[in-house]
Structures are given as structure tokens and as C-alpha cells.
């Protein structure tokens, strides 16, 4: 069971307090009506699913109900950082998903 730092509550909590909400940094198209089927399909369904560094959205469902992002290694399940929605990760995947 993961231990996740909630940047709003400013402490680590057990995974059971959180809900996973999928890959981070997928912005809703500003004008969905102008999206081609392919563009819309990419937004809706296509995800990176990397082996290695992954940025993902979590919500502190049983705590403060706030959303935030997490950088996690999908191989080891290590969590490297939590950061606020609207900000950028400090750790990003390089070749092979290794932390840089």
C-alpha cells in the first residue's frame, strides 16, 4: 500500500485515503466542438502507460477532497513527488522512463 504525500494536508497518508484519477496533464481541449474525431479520441482514450516515470492525478478523497499530481515509477511504485494542479513536475522521464 502506497504512502502518498498530500500537498494540501502537508503530510503522508495511506493510499486508502486517496483515489487515483488517471494520467496527469491531459488538458480538456479548449473547443471540443472543433476537434476532429481523431483529436477527440486521443483526448478521451489514449494514454502514455509508460514503464517508468508516470505523472498522475490523485484526489485526497477521505481527507481534504483536493486533487493534486504525483510522479511515480510504475516499475517500483516509488513515489518521487507530489505537486499542485497547474504546476510542473520537477522529475520527468528520460529514455526508458528513468528519473532524470
Amino acid at each position: 500500500m502506497l504512502s502518498i504525500y498530500c500537498p494540501h494536508c502537508a503530510e503522508h497518508r495511506d493510499e486508502e485515503e486517496f483515489h487515483y484519477k488517471g494520467q496527469a496533464h491531459i488538458a480538456r481541449p479548449s473547443d471540443p466542438d472543433k476537434c476532429s474525431d481523431e483529436e477527440w479520441g486521443n483526448y478521451m482514450y489514449f494514454r502514455a502507460n509508460p514503464r517508468g516515470i508516470h505523472h498522475e492525478v490523485w484526489v485526497h478523497a477521505l481527507g481534504c477532497r483536493k486533487f493534486f499530481n504525483v510522479t511515480r515509477d510504475t516499475r517500483s511504485y516509488q513515489v518521487f513527488e507530489s505537486y499542485l494542479i497547474g504546476t510542473s513536475p520537477s522529475i520527468t522521464g528520460e529514455q526508458g522512463g528513468q528519473p532524470s
Partner: protein
């Protein structure tokens, strides 16, 4: 019975507390401090099991968790049955009742010549692998056979009367194992001020020190153990958990500890006390000091009762005062084996010889042997054992320096016990659970834990520190490292002094050669529990299974509850030799949780019976119970389903409730609907984005129905939202959707549109909601409020604050029945008061309480959907004929808009929601029934849609149904057929889903 193998003195048992126990129906005696295994051995019980595949008699081999044979069923009553208990880990208590689990068909009768051979030929190595390839029907046949033969015990069929606890723990340092390394680590960490948990799986802490002959600081090792435990007990920040197995090591230093709190006390736990406790630990640092398991040598007939590991012999003598035989032969490849001989000899029984595979042995232990005049035979090993239910003699011969072949004549030694040691396998199991792979160290002839990303340190025999002094020092070093990482002070700790010991390196001996080739030699067991032999492993290599993981699956080596504790390394060594490789080249082997079996009771804890899942109640629940309501689970809520009067069936009750509501007035407890307070300058804009319809012009005081879709355009929830003030709304959701809708709203607000000024707060629990519905509902409400309820003052789809029965309320004129309805919301603390007040005035109107079933029927008569029943995530508003609830005029592309215009969503032949009227009005279609256009089409018939809602309507005196039909909206009046499972075919007409009052006249009054 006399305890013929019990010494008159010595051991850590309490001779003043004799205990009686029952084994296979016979009463024996033992002492407090015994394990079931030590007590059985004390009484001279040799055979405790029959083997899985060959049905061979088996005795106790080991003294700890690694015991493969002594697996028993305990329990004096049906309810207290516990399968799969290791006799070596079960503390003895007065009245303990134990049975063998693999006693099929008889323990003593030697079936080698009969069933054994039959079973052997029926189940060659590779049995599992080959069986999995068989068709399922064959597997069923085999499964029965395996279950009978495998003897893993049985589950009780009566409820477990004991209590089990689960608890969360947090600590700075979790020390796993309380041998010399673990105790030293815990002591140093505690002195450094850390919060420490130290857990040990044995009945008492001390590990190898409990059976050690070494002196620490000039005193017995057990004195040092006692002094350390006393100090740890004094530390307020230290939790000592004896009888507690750390079974799982999960991500981010989350470990589970299975504590056997009262298993050693009685058949049933004392009143109010838990039998077992599962600790769920989050540790900053973990120090693994799990020790090592002694490897037995692999030799002919090495499973005959009387064959044991050397350390087990020492444990039984030193800890329990039990010498499990009269004449001992030791066969060893290292110094460790010698202690068994010394302990046996000093207990006053005969050591026939110590056979050491090494040549020119020179060590402290060998000197001690010489001092006692015990025969030492060098460069040799035990090749084979004679005997069936007990060792009678052994064959010994010289072997070559590589330990690959016999090079001298075979001599026979008469004995009843053979203790062997092939060295020590570090107990790396827990280190593997988070993905770390062990690495081979040829200097210690064993695997040690590999690198890890967890905050984990390893100490003691686990990392090859097999000497007491080495273990103590490595435990201290690990604690120091953890304290430094925790920024805690490193205390002054002095390691006890020990007499210097001269150690001679071990010889890498695993599989003792025989004069015959392995395939023709007597069976040489590698994995006792799964009956895997050296010959079987060699066969699997010949059949082409190259990786050790394949070999394991082919042979079942290390399967099941055994997890390869004794046999894995020997199996790898045999594989390596068969393939001409080194052990590390063959691969490594990993282990999964759990380390030893964990009872379901401990896993379940309190989450069972009435507390299995939360039951949520409304403020009026007691009233419903007192009126005999039948309840339906809706999510975690308990909702009244219907209110049967005496002698009524469900159908009669529902019909009565339906008619009463449409003819006079009914009342529904609707408190479970989700309710969300939404306010802020952008609340209106926000609603416009998350609902499919328009909200810009909804005036304060007005209510509107809304549909929610996902980005894919598919309906997922619906409800009425009311405008409380220009920037303030109250949203309702479905009962089951409440939590999900709020999280979904927050997701869009927080991650997509944080610039919108809006706050959302769940008020589901705050309001009690009761809907009175029916032509007399206005009159009834009028008796409890002064407010003007006329259609002019209080029109349909509006709300008003008013006082109802003396309680401030919000009343909404919305309707899910199609009747004149008032939804009364009061703070839940007053819900029961208002509900009862309505009934006090309700008698003249025959106020009828109704439940969810009547609600479903009434809304179906009106053609209203239930999200989640009539929708399934593949249905958009137009499919439902609810295009009126979609506004494409809104400037913002609301959620679902783009999804709804995908090519697939605008196909004319989509399945569309329609009414279904059976030709025979008395037939009620089953929900889920699949429709076809041509009932005579060949099978598989093209299916055109299914029934989602179907009821008997007492008001219409006929059946009604709704469901999906391909292109249904353009097929009004056409016929659709429903072939049912019983072979009948129901003919029906496609119609409007609205069966009653299509103009909505009844609710607009």
C-alpha cells in the same frame, strides 16, 4: 503416557505446569512452554503425516516455520477448527486437540507397496504442469484426488467463535526477528530514542540464542536475552511482539504482522480477548534480521521419521529438554552440525558418529567433539537410510572432494536418528516481496537479499553473519545506520564479548551422491511437502525446463504453504548440476507474501457479521422498522422496499401502495438522494458546463431536471437542481451516485476550471427528505403549514421555504410519480418529527407509506428513467428520447456535447429507449429479456435490445415495460418478440415509454 524422550532437567519448559493434549484421539502430556512438536517428540510420536504424492510416513524435521511435515489440524470443537497449523509453531495448552491433516488412509500402515506406487505412477513429476494443460473436466477429476491426498486440512463449517483484531501501527524502526542481530538492533534503536517494533515468529524471543552453548559476557546466552528484553520492555516507545510473524512486506515499508495473541492459551480465546491480531505497520525503516534456515542434506530415504536438521535436534534438547531418539548419526558439511552431537551427548544419549564431508577438519567444535570421545568420520556422508516408520540404520561412505561421487565402501551404522546440515539458507523471503531479487554469495553458499528501493537494512544470518558475534555486530551496525538516517543520536552500545571460535569453511554439499544413478537410487527428497525428489528435478531438466522458475512449476518445488523454505536451494543446486551451470546461472528465486499461512479471521478482523460493511440509515429508519418495512440495499443505504400489511405478499403490498398514491396520497422517504450545496458567482456557469441542459435563465425559486453525461456523451446521473438564489443552488443526485458526482464536479472545478468561483458542499446527511405524492398531498401538507400551497402561489417545478409541523423546511414541488407532489426537506434531526406529524394528520387521506418498489413502478408508468437501471454507460440522452434535456445553444461546449456527435452516436439504428406493451396484458416480461424482430430466425438470433424496466401496473391493470430497441423511436406500433429461457416467446408492441398521463395533467394541478 510417559514422556520417554523428556530429560529430567534442562530446557525452557515449566515442569511445574504439566499439560494434557490429544493427538489422534489419544491423550498425551507435555509442559507449559512446549510446542505441539516438542511435546509429540517427547512422547516418542514418530509419524505425524503421510506424504502428498507417495503417501510415505513423515516425522518432524525442523523446529520452526520451515517445518514441512508437521502440519496439523487443531481444534476441540467444529467451530474452533484450524487447518494448516505447523506443530512447531503451536504453543501447547491444556486440552489441545490435534489431528494429522494428511493421515490418508492411515499413518502407521505402510502403503509404499500399494497406494504409494499407484499414486506415484498416477502423479509423475510435472503433474501440475501437465494437468493445467488438460481440459477443464479432467482438472476437476484431478482436483478431488489432490484435495484428498494433499492433506492441507479442512475449514470449519461452524462460525468461528473467536475475535480477531486488526490494528494500524507506525514506527521509526521495525525489527523483524529477535535473534542476536534483531535484539541488538532493537536495543540500539531504542536507546537512540526511536519508536521501535520488534516482532518474532517464535513462542519466545531470542532466536538462535535460546539453544546456544556460547557464553555472552561470561554468562548463558539466555541471560543476555532476558536482560535485553527487560530493558526493551521498559522503553515506552518499544513494542515487543513475540508469537508474531511478519508475513508481508509491501510497498513503501508497509508490513503486515500476524500476532497469535491467545492461540497458546486454549482452544478458544478467553472472553473478550482476541485470538489473533493483524498489525498493519508503516515503518520509516525496516531492519530485517530474519535469520537463516538450516538446509538438510539430500540423501536416500531422507524422509523417514528420525531424519531431522541438526539445529532442530539442538533446539529440542536445549529449549524443550527433549531428545528425540536414542542413537544419533550426524552428517554435515559445516561446523554447525556439530552442536547437535554435543547436545545429544551431553543429554546422556549415544552419538554413534559425526560424519563430516570435509577432510582434515580443524575447528573449535571438532575439538569439543574429540574431548567427548565422539567418533568423527571425515570426507564422508550418509548416503541412505533404512527404515520405514523410523530410521533403523544409515549407509555411510567416502565421497570425493567435489561431493559428486561415492569413492569408498559403504558401511552401515545402526541408529534411530539422523541429523544433517548442509549449511544455512538466509531467510530472504520478506526482502523479495517488494520486487528485490536475492543475490548469490558463494562464500556463504547462499542467497542474500538484493538491493532495494525501500528504506530497508539487513542484519545477522540473513546477510551471512552466521556466528553469534557477527550477528550481534551487524545488528548494531544496522541500527546505527537507521538512527543516522532518522537524524537521531547514536547511543553507546557495547556488544557482549564471546569466547573466540575457530571456524572451518563449509563444503558446498547439497545432494549426496549415491552408488546408483539418481534416477535409480532410493528417493532423495528435496521438497518434503510437495514430494519433489532429486530424480524429479533431474527429469524436468531432461525434459527441457531450463529456468528454475520452470522447474518449480514442473515439479511443484516450493509450492503452496511451504514456499521452499527447506528445499529451494537444494533444488537449485541439483538443477544447476544437471545443466552444468553454477547456482547463480540457474537464476534466483523469489517469494511472495505470505511467508506463512495467515488465518482468514486475522485478515477479516472486525469487518464481518454486522460490521462487514457500513449500513447507512435515514432519520426515519426506526419508524420504517416499527411498521414492518422490508428493506432494500441501495449502495450502503437501507431503504424501505415496501411496507407489507399483515398477510400481504410483496406484489399485494406494492399494488396497494401504487393505487393509494395515485388515488389519495403516498409518502416516500427520499432522504438518501445525494444533495450538494453549490454557491458562488460562477455557480450558474458551472452548472451549464456539467449538465446537458441550460441553466442561465433558471430564476430563484425554480427547479429544473438535469442530465449529466461523461465526455463520451453517455448519461451517468440525473436529478433536480433548484435555484435558491441567483448564485446559490441545491443539486440532487441519485442515491448511488452522490459521492461520485461530487468528486466528478470537484475534478472539473479543481483541474479544468479553477478560475470559476464556486464552492460545493455535500448536504446529503443534513436533510431528511420526504415526498408526499398524490391528489390529496396538497390538503395533507396544508394541515401542517400556513403557507399558500395553491397552484398560483406555489407552481409546479418551484420551491418555497415554509414551516412544516413547526419545523423550518424547504418544500419542492417536483414529482417523480407524475402526481401532485411535495418534497419536504427538513434538517434530519427533525425528520422523524415531521414524518410522524404527517401521519398524525394523514389518516383521513389514508396516507400510505411506500418504498422503492412502488417508486419504481410509479415512475415507470410515467416513463421516467432511473439512471443506472435504464442506462448502462452506453446510452446518450437522444437514445433515451430525452433530447429535450440537451441544449446545443449554450456557448460553452458542455461535458458530453462533443461525445454525442461522434458518428457512432448519430447512427439511426442505435438502440433507443421505448415503451414495450405485451400483447397479452397479464404477462410481465423479465428485466434483461432480449428482443428480436423475427422469432423464427435461426439461432443465434439477431438481438435488437433488452428490457430495462418491467412491472405490473395496478393503476393501469396491465403490465408495462421499457427497454431498448434498435431504431425504436421510428418503430412505434411495430412488433418485437422476446424469446424467454423457458422456450416461450412473448409478443409485444413498441410504444411510447409514457404509459400514464402523457400530457402531465396530474402533476400540474
Amino acid at each position: 503416557m510417559t514422556q520417554l524422550n523428556r530429560l529430567s532437567t534442562g530446557g525452557r519448559i515449566n515442569r511445574s505446569k504439566p499439560l494434557r493434549f490429544t493427538w489422534r484421539g489419544q491423550v498425551y502430556s507435555g509442559y507449559e512452554g512446549d510446542t505441539l512438536a516438542s511435546a509429540l517428540l517427547a512422547n516418542g510420536v514418530d509419524v505425524v503425516a503421510r506424504s502428498f504424492k507417495y503417501s510415505r510416513p513423515r516425522g518432524i524435521i525442523a523446529a520452526g516455520a520451515e517445518e514441512p511435515n508437521g502440519i496439523v489440524q487443531i481444534g476441540a470443537t467444529e467451530a474452533t477448527q484450524v487447518p494448516n497449523v505447523r506443530a512447531t509453531q503451536q504453543g501447547l495448552y491444556e486440552g489441545l486437540v490435534a489431528e494429522p491433516t494428511s493421515g490418508w488412509p492411515s499413518l502407521e500402515y505402510d502403503l509404499m507397496g500399494a497406494v504409494g506406487k499407484v499414486a506415484g505412477s498416477a502423479m509423475p513429476p510435472g503433474f501440475y504442469y501437465k494437468t493445467f494443460m488438460f481440459p477443464e473436466s479432467m482438472w476437476m477429476t484431478y482436483e478431488k484426488f489432490i484435495r484428498r491426498a494433499a492433506g492441507l486440512g479442512r475449514s470449519p463449517i461452524a462460525p468461528d467463535p473467536d475475535r480477531y483484531e486488526k490494528t494500524h501501527q507506525h514506527c521509526d524502526v521495525l525489527v523483524v526477528g529477535a535473534g542476536p542481530a534483531g535484539l541488538m538492533a532493537a536495543l540500539a534503536a531504542a536507546r537512540g530514542g526511536a519508536r521501535v517494533i520488534i516482532a518474532d515468529e517464535q513462542e519466545e524471543m531470542g532466536g538462535s540464542l535460546l539453544a546456544s552453548r556460547e557464553l555472552l559476557d561470561g554468562g548463558p546466552a539466555t541471560d543476555w536475552v532476558a536482560s535485553v528484553l527487560a530493558e526493551l520492555n521498559e522503553h515506552p516507545e518499544v513494542l515487543l511482539l513475540p508469537k508474531s510473524t511478519v508475513n508481508g512486506y509491501h510497498d513503501h515499508n508497509f508490513l503486515t504482522i500476524h500476532e497469535r495473541c491467545t492461540d497458546h492459551l486454549a482452544d478458544r480465546a478467553p472472553d473478550t480477548q482476541p485470538r489473533q491480531r493483524l498489525h498493519r505497520v508503516r515503518a520509516e525503516w525496516v531492519i530485517l534480521a530474519t535469520g537463516a534456515h538450516e538446509r538438510p542434506l539430500v540423501y536416500g530415504n531422507n524422509d523417514v521419521p528420525g531424519c531431522m536438521t541438526c539445529s532442530a535436534v539442538s533446539s529440542y534438547v536445549q529449549r524443550y529438554g527433549v531428545v528425540p531418539g536414542n542413537r544419533l548419526v550426524v552428517s554435515t558439511s559445516n561446523d554447525g552440525g556439530y552442536q547437535a552431537a554435543l547436545d545429544w551427548h551431553d543429554a546422556g544419549r549415544r552419538v554413534v558418529a559425526v560424519i563430516d564431508a570435509r577432510r582434515q577438519v580443524a575447528s573449535t567444535m571438532a575439538d569439543a567433539l574429540k574431548d567427548r570421545g565422539i567418533t568423527l568420520i571425515e570426507g564422508s556422508a550418509v548416503l541412505n537410510v533404512a527404515g520405514s516408520t523410523r530410521v533403523q540404520s544409515v549407509e555411510v561412505a567416502r565421497i570425493d572432494a567435489d561431493a559428486h561421487q561415492v569413492i569408498g565402501p559403504v558401511q552401515t551404522l545402526v541408529c534411530d536418528t539422523v541429523a544433517t546440515s548442509g549449511g544455512w539458507s538466509p531467510a530472504v523471503h520478506l526482502s523479495c516481496h517488494t520486487g528485490s531479487r536475492p543475490t548469490w554469495r558463494s562464500d556463504i553458499i547462499g542467497f542474500v537479499p538484493g538491493a532495494t528501493h525501500e528504506q530497508r537494512l539487513d542484519a545477522g544470518a540473513l546477510v551471512g553473519e552466521f556466528s553469534t558475534e557477527g550477528a550481534l555486530n551487524s545488528g548494531l551496525a544496522a541500527a546505527r545506520q537507521a538512527l543516522q538516517a532518522l537524524s537521531m543520536s547514536v547511543p553507546e552500545v557495547v556488544v557482549p564479548t564471546l569466547a573466540p571460535v575457530e571456524i572451518m569453511p563449509a563444503l558446498a554439499l547439497f545432494h549426496v551422491p549415491h552408488t546408483l544413478p539418481t534416477s535409480r537410487a532410493p528417493k532423495q527428497f528435496v521438497d518434503y511437502q510437495n514430494d519433489v525428489t532429486a530424480a524429479g528435478i533431474e527429469l524436468s531438466c531432461r525434459e527441457g525446463f531450463e529456468s528454475i522458475e520452470h522447474v518449480k512449476r514442473y515439479t511443484a518445488l516450493g509450492f503452496g504453504t511451504d514456499q521452499g523454505k527447506l528445499g529451494n536451494i537444494n533444488g537449485m543446486a541439483i538443477t544447476a548440476r544437471a545443466r552444468g551451470m553454477s547456482i547463480p546461472e540457474v537464476g534466483t528465486t523469489v517469494f511472495r507474501p505470505n511467508y506463512t499461512p495467515v488465518s482468514f479471521g486475522a485478515i477479516v478482523g472486525r469487518d464481518c457479521g454486522p460490521l462487514f460493511d457500513p449500513k447507512r440509515y435515514t432519520a426515519m429508519h426506526e419508524w420504517h422498522v416499527s411498521k414492518g418495512a422490508a428493506f432494500e440495499d441501495v449502495g450502503q443505504w437501507k431503504r424501505p422496499w415496501y411496507f407489507p400489511k399483515a398477510g400481504e405478499t410483496m406484489a399485494q403490498a406494492v399494488n396497494r401502495e401504487c393505487v393509494a398514491t395515485r388515488t389519495s396520497v403516498g409518502i416516500l422517504d427520499a432522504s438518501t438522494l445525494g444533495k450538494i450545496d453549490i454557491q458562488g458567482p460562477d455557480a450558474r456557469e458551472f452548472l451549464g458546463r456539467v449538465y446537458t441542459n441550460a441553466w442561465a435563465k433558471l430564476a430563484p425559486g425554480r427547479c429544473r431536471y438535469g442530465l449529466m453525461c461523461g465526455e463520451d456523451g453517455m448519461v451517468f446521473d440525473d436529478g433536480v437542481t433548484s435555484c435558491l438564489a441567483d448564485q446559490h443552488f441545491l443539486m440532487t443526485t441519485t442515491t448511488g451516485g452522490a459521492a461520485g458526482v461530487l468528486e466528478w464536479l470537484e475534478f472539473y472545478h479543481q483541474t479544468e476550471w479553477p478560475e470559476l468561483q464556486v464552492y460545493m458542499t455535500s448536504v446529503t446527511d443534513h436533510w431528511a427528505t420526504m415526498t408526499i405524492s398524490g391528489p390529496n398531498s396538497r390538503k395533507l401538507l396544508g394541515e401542517l403549514t400556513d403557507a399558500d400551497l395553491s397552484a398560483e402561489a406555489f407552481p409546479f417545478m418551484s420551491w418555497q421555504p415554509m414551516t412544516v409541523a413547526g419545523v423550518p423546511a424547504r418544500v419542492f414541488r417536483i414529482s417523480f410519480t407524475g402526481e401532485l407532489s411535495f418534497e419536504i426537506n427538513v434538517p434530519a434531526n427533525y425528520g422523524l418529527h415531521v414524518w410522524e406529524a404527517l401521519f398524525e394528520r394523514g389518516a383521513p387521506y389514508d396516507l400510505t407509506p411506500y418504498g422503492t418498489e412502488t417508486m419504481h413502478v410509479l415512475r415507470a408508468e410515467k416513463g421516467f428513467i432511473i439512471a443506472g437501471q435504464d442506462t448502462d454507460g452506453s446510452v446518450h440522452p437522444h437514445d433515451l428520447g430525452m433530447g429535450w434535456a440537451v441544449s446545443n445553444q449554450k456557448p460553452f461546449s458542455f461535458i458530453g456535447k462533443r461525445g454525442m456527435v461522434r458518428a457512432d452516436c448519430v447512427r439511426p439504428d442505435r438502440k433507443q429507449w421505448v415503451g414495450i406493451k405485451t400483447r397479452d396484458p397479464s404477462v410481465v416480461l423479465p428485466e434483461g429479456a432480449q428482443g428480436v424482430f423475427d422469432p423464427n430466425a435461426p439461432i443465434p438470433m439477431p438481438m435488437v435490445g433488452h428490457i430495462t424496466s418491467s412491472y405490473w401496473s395496478a393503476n393501469l391493470n396491465r403490465s408495462i415495460a421499457q427497454g431498448f430497441v434498435k431504431g425504436g423511436h421510428a418503430r412505434m406500433g411495430e412488433t418485437v418478440y422476446y424469446p424467454l429461457a423457458d422456450g416461450s416467446v412473448v409478443e409485444a408492441e413498441i410504444c411510447s415509454p409514457v404509459f400514464l398521463d402523457p400530457e402531465g395533467e396530474r402533476q400540474h394541478v
